[in-house]
């Protein structure tokens, strides 16, 4: 029997977000510059922030061809985790506020119950679009900004959008 919660927040369309803890891939480990004098022992994404981040990224970076690869999403979440280990508690706090606002408020804007990550991808898209245009647009902008910065650093998405990484005075290719 369909519950009240299911009627308000239909689950058949739900895209499951199967989250596994960040696994730093070989490629990423080689990609990163490790500073000798860096902060040690910091805290990255919490257990709740990681799946929410993944759901948000999947919604943001869906193309006409469909959702992004699971491996790239995993790369993104792992690198976000590393960013907050280094950038510190205040940065994580601000990002967490943005994520919390998105997670709890954006579903309400499309008449669904939170959390955001349990909605279908299409509903998540509508919820984020609505929130981006609302007075809470700044929360979407903040989270989107850091996700985009990292996402387009991956050679795949960077090449997709035409970034060739060349300098003005590079010799011709």
């Amino acid at each position: 029997m369909e519950s009240r919660r299911d009627r308000l927040n239909p689950r058949p369309n739900l895209t499951p977000i199967l989250y596994t803890p960040p696994r730093v891939t070989e490629a990423l480990a080689h990609d990163r510059v490790e500073v000798e004098d860096r902060v040690l022992g910091g805290v990255g994404l919490t257990r709740r922030m990681a799946p929410a981040t993944r759901a948000l990224a999947e919604t943001l970076f869906t193309t006409e061809a469909g959702p992004p690869d699971a491996e790239r999403l995993e790369w993104l979440v792992a690198d976000m985790d590393h960013l907050f280990v280094q950038a510190g508690r205040r940065a994580r706090f601000v990002y967490r506020l943005c994520l919390l606002a998105i997670s709890l408020i954006s579903p309400l804007l499309v008449w669904r119950l939170p959390p955001f990550r349990r909605l279908s991808r299409e509903t998540r898209t509508r919820a984020l679009e609505r929130m981006e245009r609302s007075f809470l647009g700044l929360a979407v902008f903040g989270a989107k900004a850091i996700l985009c910065i990292i996402w387009y650093e991956h050679p795949g998405p960077a090449a997709d959008i035409g970034f060739d990484g060349r300098c003005l005075q590079d010799p011709p290719a």
């Binding site: 990609d31 990163r32 510059v33 500073v35 004098d37 860096r38 902060v39 040690l40 022992g41 910091g42 805290v43 919604t59 943001l60 970076f61 869906t62 193309t63 006409e64 690198d79 960013l83 907050f84 280990v85 280094q86 950038a87 510190g88 508690r89 205040r90 940065a91 601000v94 990002y95 991808r121 898209t125 984020l128 679009e129 981006e132 245009r133 609302s134 007075f135 647009g137 700044l138 902008f141 900004a145 850091i146 996700l147 985009c148 910065i149 990292i150 387009y152 650093e153 960077a158 997709d160 959008i161 035409g162 970034f163 060739d164 990484g165 060349r166 300098c167 003005l168 005075q169 590079d170």
Partner: protein, 504 residues
Amino acid sequence: MTACTHSARDHQGDLVLDADVVVVGSGAGGAVVAGELAEAGRRVIVLEEGPNVPPEDLARMRPSESMRHVWRDGAFMVAVPLGNTPAINVTMGRCVGGSSVITGGVCFRIPGAVMRHWTDELHLRDYDEKAMEPYFADVEKKIHVEEVPVEMRSRSTALFAEGARKQGLDVKPMSRNTQDCQGCGQCNFGCPHLAKRSVDLNYLPEAVSHGAQVWSHCLVDRVLTKGTRAVGVSGRLLNRPGGRRGARLTVHAKEVVLAAGAWHTPLILRASGIGRSHVVGHNLTLHPGFRVLARFDEPVRGWQGALQSAWSDTHEHEGVTLTSLFVPVGVLGATMPGVGVEHTRAAHQIDHLAMFGGIVHDGGGGRVRRGPGREPIVTYRMSKEDRARIPKLVRALAGAFRAAGARELFLPVLGLRGVAPDELDGVPLESLPARRFESASQHPLGSCQMGASSAVSVTDGDGKVWDTEGLHVADGSIVPTSLGVNPQLSIMAIATRVAWRMRG
């Protein structure tokens, strides 16, 4: 440089040091003072809260890696808006070299009109162009200030200049502290060719070569005083997991120079009970910045070229300065409106986007307060006059791109889709609430302003804190008004002046 920098992160137990001069902060102000005083034979210790990131490492980093290692709080800093004010993302460096490591390298002298205001209205008599000439000349030589040649401009800047000329705007070349720039558009995130001459490549190595010690991971809480004389500083080593406060830090010194920046110098003074409460932390200016993106039919690839190369002061009489800039594609992607398919479709046009920005020559309204942790809470209330400048600035930028033949304009308004050029005049920018505007600032100034009397200022014209012997301020916080142009060079010139006066 790296080998001569000490890291307090790995230090066991309390740290007690002794010096002639202790300098708090290693950015554009602190590094200059340290270099000048060490050269004069003083025993100098520089304390930096952030890590030491060698320029060779920075040169290899992705933008987000630079943000996590050398930007304060990963660039997640906001001046809390009060009243009809946009939320302003304020960025600054937190590493050996401070914000000089993450600037675009733009160098301007203090504009003549600003200096006249300082001398005539604020009675800072020694701040005219002639008196400041030797300080500017000295800094310009040491950090290699040069004009950006027109051929180093990106296509993005060239398109703006083309449209601006049609609109009657005068676009001039900028000067930057660079040498052998290859035009990679990455100045804010670490130059891959070490072409940007930030202070970790000149003043700090110079100081170290004269015996100065530079300590990273040192957080200074307060100035130690004996009677009315400063005798050192105290704080904590950031040597616990996650960079949390650990063992005690004490530096005994004959003279103390605070150069922790406009957000943190007032905190140290307030915690030390120094300075009058109605001036310390008040009068913060930010130069709120706004940008406009424009899509062209032709490929623009704005990342190929100098990040910042041209500017226009045609609208200066209206309190607005236009400056070229470009940002890495990820940052650009973040400004593309929409979600999912709409967003990625817009992002695929990034190589066709041009960008130009501008800053508001603001009149103050910021305030630095003590926060619950070690960071301040900064509020900013924009005046009506400054608020009215935002639409003027945005229309000036968008108008120039429209004149250059842009197909679509992306205005700095949260949630607003791209607009067709002929729809620009119909966008109600003037009536939008200020919080709808996206804004960023890299120029916090003025929270410990210098002045002619202790009733209205924190320091005198030489950066000496009123009523406390042996205590100086030498960073952007003493700049008494906003400048209307990038302040790095002016901060360094004022710091040189402070150091030369200390040398006697």
